[in-house]
């Protein structure tokens, strides 16, 4: 009983930070309709800045209060800059474009901090007294109560602002109906800006008070965004008190789960350690239960312009494109030096992952972040098949793909009624759960190390990275595995292109455009969605076993939460509605051909790659809200139309000349 109380009270600490960030998430959403993934990253910046100002990093040491003031001002600055430079230009873009842009901000901030402060984590200076309280005969650090008190006071203050001030009224009005608010003379840009100020200040404060449970490093505080998003979703991205209560609830729940894992009845894995990742699993399960109980649609904002995904043109010249692509691929695999060859093979895998997003997000409009996790499922199945049962190529990959489809169907079926951004948040929580509970577990995944995969061979031919044919430079990896990958990519590209041309693909686009009208046209919406989940999971599973064979092992780190987000970004930038977009997405994916080129030619590496990647992500989204492939397609269409018009004009003039 005492222990129970102890862990509930200890959970107040994490609960406070989750609640505070959740509050900032809801404030941002109400102010501008943006789901900002970078809010945890602002807390991270604040934590680093607070450390730096208190420890002579910049050549001066400030006292606690002035340091707090400077930190809050810098957090606000970060928020304002991202509002002005990133979100305002994207005002009328699709929610997905905004999500991708906020990921760009997150990566940029992470890279900046790493470059500035180095990779060693810093101790955030303590702002609370170090007292220990005795409650029910247990010792509890007083700072947990201080943290909770700060968050509760801030929440009440924010609540009061929204309840009683003119600004609060205006925000409530505008978040209910933006058009009516404009007619009342309220400027959406101004409201969005003030709310951003508030949210960034709040995020900054969380970075300061997190000292007792987190250090200033590049991930801990950033990742608090996941449980915070879950809490915000509980609150329907609307209710401030529910977001705060849910935040505390998740923190305490996780603490209790940790307590349970110390008890004897708790299931263990090899080595007698308790199963890992049960805390993430708990968050995910709570979220799914909550959504199924109260429905999932977020309130609409009554906006002026309906924001749609980019158009998905019908692909043409399939055979020609496939032949050209295949020929270039074969030549490059043979000719390129080994570094570029490896990058090309990773790009091919990236293309497959992007293709799976083209089907589920581009064609059906479901923003699923689970695709990378499904790839992981397939990869681990391939590894376990060979390690535990001695089954290798091609049966391992087949089983892997099937496992991907099964998990994908479970995700799809449980998310049938969840749409849009809610779906993105649920699948994000799912990714973290699968990563921590599944992949990082010794029982199902690989623990902290990788799980080995034997190289593939078929009918006595070695198809792996160590096959005897080594390309022009004679080095590893062998192009042979690349040929296998290339064949897979071409086959899947053709499949996805065929889907777009088929009645099934047209049904998918009809569902994406308007579920109600699709049902009125006799389309079984649920069936179309499930079919799309199955196909897209199959494709993601294929990427999973490609990874496994490429690296000769699988590890949880390859299929984590940030990778999942990054792939949505790559697919979106490339062009999430087109096969050619997936190809571009694969080329720019992490460690792919384009980043490798940057690294080799410009000497950009490590954290600089991260920084440049984040900035390019932001710039590309703003320049091409429809993706690179989409922009190219539109330009070509426009010039075709202009040419046709010119032809008509010439013809008319010629005719006039004849007569």
């Amino acid at each position: 009983m005492q222990d129970l109380v102890l862990f509930v009270l200890l959970g107040l600490g994490a609960g406070s930070v989750i609640a505070g960030i959740a509050l900032a998430v809801v404030i941002t959403y109400r102010g501008s309709g943006i789901i900002n993934l970078a809010i945890g990253a602002i807390s991270m910046v604040a934590a680093y800045a607070f450390w730096a100002l208190r420890s002579d990093f910049f050549g001066i040491t400030l006292a606690t209060v002035p340091a707090i003031v400077v930190v809050m001002l810098s957090s606000i600055l970060v928020g304002v800059v991202s509002e002005l430079l990133v979100f305002r230009p994207l005002r009328t873009s699709s929610p997905l474009a905004k999500l991708v842009a906020s990921l760009g901000i997150l990566l940029t901030l992470q890279a900046t901090m790493l470059l500035w402060f180095g990779s060693a984590s810093k101790q955030i200076p303590n702002v609370f007294p170090d007292d220990i309280l005795q409650i029910f005969d247990t010792s509890i650090p007083a700072n947990r109560f201080w943290m909770a008190a700060v968050v509760v006071v801030i929440s009440l203050a924010v609540g009061a602002v929204y309840r009683w001030t003119r600004f609060g009224l205006a925000t409530r009005a505008a978040s209910e109906n933006e058009v009516f608010a404009m007619l009342a003379g309220l400027s959406p840009n101004q409201l969005s800006m003030v709310n951003t100020l508030l949210a960034s200040a709040l995020a900054g404060a969380m970075g300061i008070i997190a000292a007792p449970l987190a250090q200033a490093d590049s991930t801990t505080l950033v990742l608090f965004i996941v449980p915070a998003l879950a809490a915000a979703l509980f609150a329907g991205f609307t209710s401030l008190p529910i977001a705060v209560i849910a935040g505390f609830g998740i923190g305490i729940g996780q603490s209790l789960m940790f307590y349970a894992s110390t008890l004897s009845w708790f299931p263990t894995e090899q080595g007698g350690n308790p199963l890992p990742g049960t805390q993430a699993l708990l968050t995910f399960v709570l979220l799914v239960v909550a959504l199924s109980l109260r429905g999932a649609s977020l309130p609409t904002r009554g906006e002026l312009v309906e924001k749609r995904l980019p158009e998905a043109p019908r692909p043409k010249h399939l055979a020609r494109s496939a032949a050209v692509f295949g020929a270039i691929g074969v030549v490059l695999l043979v000719v390129l030096p080994f570094g570029y060859r490896q990058a090309l093979m990773l790009s091919l895998i990236g293309m497959v992952l992007c293709l799976s997003l083209v089907v589920i997000t581009g064609f059906v409009g479901q923003v699923s972040l689970a695709q990378v996790a499904l790839a992981g499922v397939a990869g681990f199945v391939v590894s376990h098949m060979i390690v535990d049962a001695g089954i290798g190529f091609p049966w391992g990959p087949i089983a892997g793909s099937i496992a991907g489809v099964v998990v994908g169907l479970i995700v799809g079926a449980s998310a049938l009624r969840v749409r849009g951004v809610s779906l993105a948040v649920v699948t994000l929580a799912g990714v973290v759960a699968i990563e921590q509970f599944g992949f990082a577990s010794k029982r199902w995944g690989a623990g902290s190390a990788g799980s080995p995969v034997e190289q593939p061979s078929l009918l006595g031919f070695d198809l792996g990275t160590t096959a005897s044919y080594r390309g022009l430079d004679g080095k590893l990896p062998s192009p042979v595995l690349g040929f296998v990958f290339l064949a897979c990519v071409i086959a899947l590209c053709l499949l996805v292109a065929q889907i777009r041309r088929s009645v099934l693909g047209q049904q998918m686009l009809a569902v994406r455009a308007n579920e109600r009208a699709a049902a009125a046209a006799g389309i079984n919406v649920a069936r179309v969605k499930i079919t799309a989940y199955a196909i897209s999971s199959f494709i993601a599973g294929t990427a999973g076993w490609m990874y496994a064979y490429n690296f000769g092992s699988v590890s949880a780190a390859r299929f984590g939460f940030l990778i999942a987000l990054a792939f949505v970004a790559f697919a979106y930038i490339g062009g999430i509605t087109m096969v050619s977009g997936a190809v571009i997405g694969g080329l720019v994916a992490t460690e792919g051909l384009v980043p490798h080129f940057f690294q080799e030619l410009l000497g950009i590496s490590g954290n600089w790659t991260l920084l440049v990647g984040g900035l390019i992500l932001i710039v590309t989204v703003i320049q091409n809200p429809e993706g690179v492939a989409g922009t190219t397609y539109r330009k070509r269409q426009a010039s075709k139309r202009a040419k046709a018009a010119a032809d008509v004009a010439t013809e008319t003039m010629a005719r006039a000349g004849e007569s």
Binding site: A170, R172, A173, E176, V179, F180, L183, A184
Partner: protein
């Protein structure tokens, strides 16, 4: 010298997705005048109001307020300049109470709450209730009360009667015409119940398929039932279609 019209539309064309719903519309409203815009659904009345308040960018033509072209102003700026647009449906925020509706405003704006409660005493009694819990008539009273409390110089009213018994609107509209006469506010109102609209209007335009087909004084139209019936119920078109 004749006074300058508060609102003047010159050859206004507007619509959605490059398809014009309103074509080359000329229309004016003088200060203190109540002008009705009538016509069947899809005739372009709502589109016209949306273009005036800035929710829709016109394809062509000029919109002048007190002689000044307002093309470059966003909707919020037009609202601050004294254009009050009461949109179709219920222009209220369901989550806000009645009293909060009167506190809501842009910077420096002070709504004349007392005037609103004077116009609609019933509102004062329910001032702490959320707008979402009010009846349709009360909501419409609130919308109108809020618009008047802003002391606009141009009031645009879109189908106040939608989903309401006509008798409720018959009670709301006279408040508008009284206000217009007293304050010099120009009123452009769209209404499907012709009789109610003509009872308070000084002049009326009848639109059909995006064009003005009748422009007459309300008095003349009140007297000439056949004219309005033919313009509105499409009696002439009917004969045309049947004989086709």
């Amino acid at each position: 010298m004749a006074t300058e019209p508060t609102l003047q539309l010159e050859k206004l064309s507007a619509g959605y997705d490059a398809a014009a719903v309103v074509r080359e519309l000329d229309l004016y409203v003088n200060p203190g005048e109540v002008v009705a815009m009538l016509g069947p659904n899809g005739a372009g009345k709502t589109t016209t109001l949306r273009a005036i308040s800035g929710l829709l960018r016109p394809m062509n033509g000029v919109i002048r307020i007190d002689g000044i072209d307002i093309a470059s102003k966003p909707p919020a700026a037009r609202a601050r300049d004294g254009i009050a647009h009461v949109p179709e449906g219920r222009g209220v925020f369901f989550g806000l109470t009645v009293a909060e509706h009167f506190r809501l405003g842009h910077r420096g704006e002070q709504l004349d709450v007392d005037a609103a409660y004077d116009h609609f005493p019933a509102l004062a009694a329910i001032k702490d209730r959320r707008a979402g819990l009010l009846s349709g008539g009360e909501q419409q009273m609130l919308t109108l009360g809020r618009a008047l409390a802003r002391r606009p110089r141009l009031l645009l009213l879109d189908e106040l009667s939608l989903g309401l018994a006509p008798v409720i609107v018959e009670r709301l509209l006279p408040v508008v015409s009284t206000y217009a006469k007293e304050s010099g506010c120009a009123v452009l109102l769209v209404e499907q119940h012709i009789h109610i609209a003509l009872a308070v209007a000084d002049r009326a335009y009848v639109l059909s398929h995006g064009e003005v087909i009748i422009h007459e004084s309300a008095e003349k139209l009140r007297g000439d039932h056949q004219l309005i019936l033919s313009g509105y119920l499409g009696e002439q078109e009917t004969t045309a279609t049947v004989s086709d």
